[in-house]
């Protein structure tokens, strides 16, 4: 699935550049390009149109934020900022400039890969992408669940909730985070409605909604989507 993706890594540190390139090559990404400075990165972006840019912030000459702003004038390519600056204000600057995610150095290779995969999944979902659950299959593109030969349509809010759970599959998603996904930053008082949506999702996706195995309640905290072919934080 990753062979057809093109990744561009931009950093002025040659050793780090080589290490990150190795991580993506070993993870099966077909085309991994590198650039040592901003202008080179912009030229490569224009010529090769990568699917994802891993961009360092602190570079001599043109810094990462400037590269990102320049890039955003002509392209909506997803960008993951990779930087030695971890202060919150730097993160905000990155997001304001149009970054899709932000990862502080030092990082674990696996975390970098997970974040890259999550961005790619969000920004270019595979057509006809289906999620296999223990008792059902969810067709995200068509907002439908197929179980026992039957098809159950998903409402817009149910689909939003399922996407959120799927993006964090194997991880607990708190009640507040789920409510916020559906109704924005002022979500207080929505918990009962959320419980209703979750019940409806279970009725469509679980063999026995009273004993759910895919959308699991984590008492007091929220819910977790468990996929049959994944363990822990894996997909």
């Amino acid at each position: 699935m990753n062979e057809d993706k093109t990744i561009l890594i931009v950093d002025d540190e040659a050793e780090l550049l080589e290490m990150v390139r190795g991580i993506f090559v070993r993870a099966g990404y077909g085309q991994v390009m590198t650039a040592g400075n901003g202008p080179q990165a912009l030229a490569l972006c224009a010529a090769r149109r990568p699917d994802l840019v891993i961009l360092d912030v602190m570079m001599p000459g043109m810094d990462g934020f400037s590269v990102l702003r320049e890039l955003r004038r002509t392209s909506s390519v997803p960008v993951l900022m990779l930087t030695a600056r971890s202060e919150a204000e730097d993160k905000f600057t990155g997001f304001e400039s149009g970054a899709d995610d932000y990862l502080a150095k030092p990082f674990l290779p696996r975390e970098l890969l997970f974040r890259a995969q999550a961005i790619l999944r969000r920004t270019s979902p595979a057509t006809g992408h289906r999620v296999r659950l223990a008792a059902a299959e969810v067709d995200i593109e068509n907002a439908a669940v197929r179980r026992d030969g039957q098809t159950f349509p998903l409402t817009a809010k149910e689909l939003q909730l399922f996407r959120k759970l799927y993006e964090n599959a194997g991880r607990i998603v708190t009640t507040g985070a789920l409510c916020e996904t559906v109704c924005g930053p002022v979500w207080q008082g929505y918990e009962c409605t959320l419980a209703t949506h979750i019940r409806h999702l279970r009725e469509k996706m679980e063999a026995n909604p009273s004993r759910p195995v895919s959308i699991v309640t984590v008492k007091g905290l929220g819910y977790r989507l468990d996929l049959p072919d994944a363990k822990g934080a894996g997909r």
């Binding site: 971890s86 204000e89 030092p106 607990i172 984590v218 905290l221």
Partner: protein, 457 residues
């Protein structure tokens, strides 16, 4: 209210109070003096009345008893009684040069002024006779004042008006003077307050207090330069160390997971990876604690839900994977109730995360950890975060140190996890930055309980 304003307001109030006290004292002294003069002062009317009571007779024949004579002697006075016809009917020690007969005009004149320079007092007797008592020359002053009623009322009103205007003037002048002091002192006091809060200070170096302003500016510049140098140094180190650490961590992690390497090599790569992660954590903590210490990290005051904050912190720890020997439970004292707090979500999350990871780090044999969120006590709004474990806990001496806010080294003397002691320091700094409260207690029968209160405003 601004403390500087409060200080000067109190100054003005106390001054006005002093003025009122002064006024009251004056009035009290006046009343006392009047009372004393009423009791002890020369009361001619009384004396002459008293004297007249000892006179007997009528018409042209009058007698004074020995007591009356004694009273005159005591006063070194002379006396006479004028019959209704103006003839002297009785006399005592009367100067020879004085006439023995008086017309009504003479009587009208001396009764108000003097009789040949002798100050005299008069009293009308029952039969129309007139008793006259003369004092030694120069022993009394006699003034006769006669004013028109309108003019008298005007004078009284004027006197009162002048009195009140004076009082008002004193108060206004005083407030004006206090304002001037406030104007001059206010910026200095504010600057000292800002210095205490670690904020930059820049005062105008002119006016009467220019010298103090210059000194304060110099002190502020020195403190800022020192703090910035230290913070920049740590920040620079932390930045410069991140890239090499990324390479070490990245390759070590790849080698640890590589199937082509023998187990011992993967184990060694794992050790490098773990130590690199520790270094990463140390660098991040050092950077954060410095930024909090020198107030370089702005506190983002947002309205948050305390329950959701705790949920996210607990979920993060669970999502990162928790060994089977630990149980982590989340509890709400009042399920379904929102507990609003004001604060920086990233910092508050860091605070809870540090405490939870502390429980795990200091209890390598496992423990049960409970995170409870509860409403603040009735006297305060906000939220209580209670993180309790049933692990090894701390000694009473360490507990005392923790509650005293003393230097927070690792709570474990021989810490196998190699804790650098910044975790709790950061927790304390975050609580202080949010004007919250932090306390430590022992969990029964063993373990440690940390209680944090974060307010709503």
């Amino acid at each position: 209210m601004n403390p500087v304003r409060r200080f000067f307001r109190r100054y003005v109030f106390s001054t006005v109070g002093l003025l009122a006290l002064l006024l009251f004292t004056n009035i009290a002294v006046l009343v006392v003096l009047l009372g004393i003069s009423e009791v002890k002062g020369p009361s001619d009317r009384f004396q002459i009345v008293d004297f007249c009571a000892h006179l007997q007779g009528g018409g042209s024949s009058w007698q004074a008893d020995p007591e009356a004579i004694g009273m005159l002697k005591e006063e070194r006075a002379w006396a006479m009684v004028l019959s209704p016809a103006g003839q002297v009917a009785w006399e005592y020690q009367m100067p020879a040069e004085l006439p023995r007969a008086y017309s009504s005009g003479d009587i009208a004149q001396f009764s108000r002024w003097y009789l040949e320079d002798w100050p005299v007092t008069v009293w009308a007797l029952d039969d129309g006779s007139l008793a006259v008592v003369g004092r030694p020359k120069g022993s009394m002053a006699k003034y006769y004042v006669s004013l028109g009623r309108d003019y008298y009322d005007f004078l009284t009103t004027l006197a009162c008006g002048i009195f009140y205007i004076n009082v008002l003037l004193v108060v206004v002048l005083f407030i004006h003077s206090a304002r001037r002091v406030e104007k001059a002192m206010g910026p200095i006091l504010n600057a000292i307050r800002s210095l205490a809060d670690g904020k930059p200070v820049r005062l105008q170096e002119d006016g009467e207090l220019a010298e103090i302003n210059t000194s304060l500016n110099r002190a502020a510049a020195y403190i800022t330069r020192k703090d910035n140098t230290r913070a920049e140094w740590i920040r620079g180190i932390s930045h410069d160390i991140r890239t090499p650490l990324s390479v070490i961590l990245g390759y070590a992690s790849e080698l640890e997971e590589s199937g082509e390497l023998p187990p011992w090599a993967r184990e060694q790569a794992g050790a490098i990876r773990r130590q690199s992660e520790k270094l990463t954590s140390l660098v991040a903590d050092l950077n954060l604690t410095t930024r909090l210490e020198y107030a370089l990290r702005p506190i983002d005051q947002k309205k948050l839900d305390g329950v959701e904050l705790a949920r996210q912190a607990v979920s993060e720890v669970l999502n990162d994977g928790l060994a089977d020997c630990y149980t982590l439970t989340f509890m709400e004292a009042h399920p379904g109730r929102h507990l609003p707090v004001a604060g920086d979500p990233a910092l508050l999350d860091r605070m809870l995360s540090n405490l939870l990871r502390n429980c795990i780090r200091h209890n390598p044999g496992g423990c049960r950890i409970t995170v409870t969120v509860a409403p603040a006590p009735a006297t305060a709004a906000g939220c209580l975060f209670i993180i309790a474990d049933d692990g090894c806990g701390v000694s009473p001496a360490q507990l005392q140190t923790l509650n005293r806010g003393g230097p927070l080294a690792s709570t474990q003397p021989a810490d196998p996890a190699g804790e650098h002691g910044l975790g709790l320091r950061i927790v304390r700094q975050i609580v202080q930055a949010h004007r919250g409260r932090l306390s430590f207690s022992n969990t029964s029968p063993h373990g440690l309980t940390v209680t944090i209160w974060i307010g709503e405003k």
